[in-house]
């Protein structure tokens, strides 16, 4: 009996140990509560910011000049990057697909397959991810540094609504310009594909494009374009949110830019997943 109970009794902590363990447990509980508190208040802040942005987007005093400036910065200034990316996507897809299709004697399907994959998936997602990197981080860093250097406070004090001036204009510009950039990247992707097809073959421009567009119908293009508006809104909003709510130190500018890219890229993937599910149901 003693042999059985002895080791069990030895494992029961003494009074002092119980106190220490209770203290540790208390501290851990307190820390976990604090982390949960921060997490839930961050979520609340995010939705509050979303609500304020949506409300200001419908206000009468819209900042048209700033909106067009942002359209120029997001659209025009991203063109070179998107051009190169679009061309390369088409080129690489064609070079990769050609041998596989040749094995099945289906090289004639190449233009259609590449065009379909670019328009439905590759073009929108890759362009959105590139924009998340360039535009999302740019917005996060710009607004973050404006927060740190008190420029947002200065705006507020001079009776300007910073959400309306800085956030609404950027979010709307991103929502409008990213679909345009995606369509542009799609076109260049197919062009790149034609160039790729001509590396080891001889296809005329007209023949390639007529074959490519013969397999694409409205239901391929429409959902793909619609989801890019959501990509744009997500990238613009996350970039602005992260920058606007950045902390006071210079370190927070880098953090804002970094987390803007990470979160907006993640959102692009999630939105794409949801969009694919919805398209699949149609």
């Amino acid at each position: 009996m003693v042999k059985i109970i002895g080791p069990v009794l030895r494992k029961i902590p003494k009074n002092r140990d119980v106190k220490k363990q209770a203290e540790k447990l208390g501290e851990r509980t307190f820390e976990q509560t604090r982390i949960a508190n921060v997490f839930f208040s961050d979520i609340a802040d995010f939705f509050l910011f979303l609500w304020r942005t949506t409300r200001e987007a419908f206000s009468r005093d819209f900042e048209f000049k700033e909106f067009f400036r942002q359209c120029y910065l997001i659209g025009y200034k991203t063109l070179p990057l998107i051009s190169i990316t679009g061309l390369i996507i088409g080129l690489v897809l064609t070079i990769q697909l050609r041998p596989a299709l040749a094995d099945f004697g289906a090289v004639s399907m190449l233009p259609g397959m590449v065009a379909l994959s670019i328009i439905r998936e590759m073009g929108p997602v890759i362009t959105a991810l590139i924009c998340a990197g360039k535009i999302g981080s740019g917005m996060g860093a710009e607004l973050g540094s404006m927060r740190v250097t008190e420029q947002i406070d200065a705006m507020e004090v001079s009776s300007t609504n910073p959400i309306r001036f800085l956030v609404v204009t950027r979010v709307l510009a991103a929502t409008l310009m990213i679909p345009i950039l995606v369509l542009y990247a799609d076109a260049l992707g197919i062009l790149g594909s034609w160039a790729g097809a001509n590396i080891k073959g001889d296809v005329t421009f007209v023949l390639f494009f007529s074959q490519a567009f013969s397999v694409i119908d409205f239901l391929d293009l429409f959902p793909a374009v619609i989801k890019t508006f959501f990509f744009g809104a997500a990238i613009g909003f996350v970039g602005c949110y992260k920058g606007y709510t950045a902390g006071r130190g210079t370190e927070s500018v880098g953090k804002a830019a970094n987390s803007a890219v990470v979160l907006s890229s993640l959102l692009v993937i999630i939105i794409d997943l949801v969009a694919v599910q919805i398209t699949d149901m149609l």
Binding site: A154, E156, T160
Partner: protein, 259 residues
């Protein structure tokens, strides 16, 4: 530096101004476990230059941010021109803020805009009644007042620290404010430029008939601009009085500041 160009301040509004333009009562504010201001009270009278002195971290900047409701206090009232800013809606707050000029410690010029656009930015929103020509004239006049008329088309990054502060001051006064709040106006500047800024603060007060609250730890700036001084220590008023009261004080803490 050029003499201040003549212009008419907002006379009508000035006549209506109450005796106490800013009235703070029992203000308390803290962040997490740190109490920054504790039961703090202050009155800024019409037309005076009030300097709030104190060590770094004594809550001076927090104080003026509460006046324009950039920060919400935990308790106490902040009345600006007789109205409690903490009880106001967004529109009323925007109206009150139009009457306040705030010079930020960093200058807070908008990096993406030229100097001209920086000055036009508040003007377009606060003085919507002005024509394009009048607006241009006001911008040029404000820049002339701070001796930087030739910087119109420059970007903030092309200016030195002192010039940025002066442009920031021009941007603040261009909307004819009734109350001026200066957050460390001479911090980070050389003694000569600091003197210029102090001189400008006095000129702004004389020309625009403003009431000014100057937050600083620069004794020379306080000497040059103060009609009255409040010394802050641990979030509460340590001593209040005229400059002479401070200079004659035998208190060790005050002496360490004014030696």
């Amino acid at each position: 530096m050029k003499e201040m160009a003549e212009s008419v301040p907002l006379v009508k509004e000035f006549i209506k101004t109450p005796k106490e333009v800013v009235e703070i009562e029992n203000l308390s504010i803290g962040f997490e476990n740190l109490k920054v201001l504790d039961d703090f009270s202050l009155k800024l009278y019409n037309g005076e230059n009030l300097v709030v002195l104190g060590k770094s971290g004594s809550g001076k900047s927090v104080l003026i941010k509460c006046i324009v409701r950039l920060l919400m206090p935990d308790s106490g009232t902040v009345k600006v021109l007789g109205e409690d800013v903490n009880e106001m809606g967004r529109k009323e707050l925007a109206e009150v803020r139009k009457k306040i000029g705030f010079l930020f410690q960093s200058g807070a010029l908008y990096d993406s805009m030229t100097i001209k656009e920086n000055l036009e930015f508040p003007l377009k929103r606060v003085r919507k009644d002005l024509s394009r020509k009048e607006m241009n004239e006001k911008v040029e006049e404000a820049l002339e007042n701070v001796g930087l008329a030739d910087t119109l088309d420059k970007m903030p990054s092309q200016l030195s620290g002192g010039m940025r502060k002066r442009v920031s001051l021009a941007r603040t006064v261009v909307v004819d404010p009734l109350i001026m709040l200066y957050d460390e106006p001479t911090t980070g500047l050389d003694p000569l430029t600091s003197d210029e800024i102090s001189e400008l603060i006095n000129k702004v007060q004389k020309k625009y008939k403003t009431s000014s609250l100057i937050i600083t730890h620069d004794i020379e700036c306080a000497r040059a601009t103060a009609d009255r001084i409040i010394m802050l220590q641990n979030g509460a008023v340590y001593l209040e009085g005229k400059l002479v009261d401070f200079e004659k004080s035998a208190d060790v803490f005050i002496k360490s500041f004014f030696r």
